[in-house]
Symmetry: C2
Subunit: 355 residues, 2 copies
């Protein structure tokens, strides 16, 4: 009764599916500087895999000079790096598309961030060597199962082109926020690919293979492809780099508020360069003001931003946020509709009523 715990407000993940488990971050209610693994969104294609720590090895094979099988002990002894990365599901904000698309109806919370520690993939490849005809690096996860549209069982597997795989910040991670990666987020080893949508960051890595051709697995040639047309596949192209984007965290949509001064707060992020500007409109896009945003700090995390809004006239208002990055990319007013609902990054909107 007098236990103060009783009165704590604890947001938890919002569930979209349990078999497999898909849950999003309560993004509006985060204190953005402390993003615990409990609040990290979960996006699974299959049931959780079965694997045993005692038996865990990481093979690197295919077009290498010397195929190797690394033990976890070997990997954690190698020079590591820790990088702050925001991972965004390609389906983040899918529920905002009109017409609606099929698949989990993610709100604005299929994005999370924290500190990942691991070994650059390049470090491991220096040990195995690479053949000259290697074109892609293929990552296979322990998670596997059937798809509704195909008959066979598939492992979750995706490849990276060589230049992305060899980026010094593409790491084989074993810690999240200085702790072993939680099982549901890829323990013991997870690929982390900064700047790409989350589907690239393969969990529970089973093996890494160097290959000479373009990998065509279903999570690369069927899913995680932008299909601009509802009825056919013309114009299709792969989902890779994260779009420049922003989200208003507070207020939340359809809030009822007082006249007076309110802090509008949110986050902005991009897969190219750094966030250079965040603008806010409180009149449905007629006029825009610069919001205060965190300076670029060399990380792959999001920038938090705030804007002080004084409002004295009761009525209904549309608040908008628009981010721009150092490559000049900016959020469009209209989303780029695509059949599977990926990469939503239109200007963010929240409607409020002032009383």
């Amino acid at each position: 009764m007098s236990n103060p715990q009783d009165r704590l407000h604890q947001p938890t993940l919002t569930t979209h599916g349990i078999q497999p488990e898909n849950q999003e971050t309560p993004i509006s209610f985060l204190s953005t500087n402390a993003m615990s693994s409990e609040l990290f969104f979960k996006r699974n294609h299959f049931s959780y895999p079965t694997l045993t720590y005692s038996n865990y090895w990481l093979p690197i094979n295919g077009l290498v000079s010397t195929p190797k099988v690394f033990s976890l002990q070997e990997i954690v002894k190698l020079p590591s790096k820790t990088i702050k990365v925001a991972l965004e599901c390609a389906g983040n904000k899918r529920s905002l598309f009109e017409p609606k698309t099929f698949g989990d109806q993610w709100g604005k919370g299929a994005i999370s961030q924290g500190f990942w520690t691991g070994v650059p993939l390049t470090t491991l490849l220096e040990a195995t060597g690479m053949n000259a005809n290697a074109k892609e690096i293929l990552f296979e996860g322990y998670d596997k199962g059937k798809r509704t549209d195909l008959n066979n069982e598939y492992s979750y597997s995706r490849s990276l082109p060589l230049e992305k795989a060899l980026d010094p910040d593409t790491i084989i991670a074993y810690e999240y926020n200085s702790q072993p990666i939680p099982f549901k987020h890829g323990y013991p080893l997870r690929l982390i690919v900064p700047n790409w949508y989350g589907m690239a960051s393969v969990k529970w890595i089973k093996q890494i293979s160097l290959i000479s051709s373009e990998f065509k697995g279903p999570y690369q040639s069927v899913d995680y492809v932008y299909y601009p047309n509802k009825e056919n596949d013309s114009g299709a192209f792969p989902v890779t780099t994260v779009n420049v984007n922003s989200t208003i965290q507070q207020p939340v949509d359809r809030d009822i508020m007082n006249t007076g001064t309110h802090v509008i707060k949110g986050i902005a992020w991009t897969g190219t360069g750094k966030i250079s500007k965040v603008e806010v409109s409180t009149d449905q896009g007629e006029t825009w003001f610069d919001a205060f945003h965190e300076p670029p700090n060399g990380s792959y995390g999001w920038s938090s931003w705030t804007f002080e809004w004084s409002v004295y006239e009761p009525g209904e208002y549309t608040l908008m946020s628009k981010a721009t990055d150092s490559f000049g990319r900016t959020q469009p007013l209209e989303p780029f509709w695509n059949r599977k609902g990926y990469g939503y990054h239109a200007i963010d909107q929240v409607h409020v009523k002032i009383e």
Copy 2:
């Protein structure tokens, strides 16, 4: 790693607000026969109140023969009853209204059920007696605070007309599922008003007063009123009895499924009589089939229902559910739009894609 707990799928509440705390039940992912208090939706108007168990007394005053102050010990010694009640927030499904209304955007999970144990209010009133001019019974909660539209501080208070207050199943509850009511759900004493929307079931009861006039507090004369018009208050009438309603729990909206046989499952409930029929359509309302539903069992809980659907033609389908109760009330195709977004009970819809 090999801890099987790691692989449990645990849906949790979906957060709409934390100050005050408003969270909904993950209704699609419930095993409906075991509804723990952890999954019970939370709907608060204010911060949680401060009250101390050691000091707790329940005064009943106003138009009574003998005002009394009951101790908890006295109350739990009185003859009790246990009733299964589904409590539904008046704002359940608010997010489905078009045009959208302001306030928390509840999905389909602002409804929960379980077993409430307590003393019929009539038992306590037999001890105090009632004056002939008593017209309503007023319940004040310990929760209080300011509203955006008014200047003073208000306690959360609501009245019941005498005939509803004296219903033998209107109880002063002290247990939920055979345990003390969790603090966030109204400990130590909560009013339970079966068949009315949840706003009537006042939590953290501070006092009960018998009054001779119609109570006009803001949670009765401003909020929890149906306003059929956007621009003015004409035609307004109070929110009381729960509408006949149903929800498809599985599949969830925008699911992608295989051809074959699927079980469509859901719940149906009403504030008048019993659920007498649940119908399902898989062709957007062209044809309807009876679903199998639990027989009426004398409780105020929901009826679970299932329908086996065999589908062999790939494509997009709209699944619908429609409940009818023993008073002949049935769900309309179009919702009754009202400015504050209460009592949504249109035929439920889920869109799926068959591959």
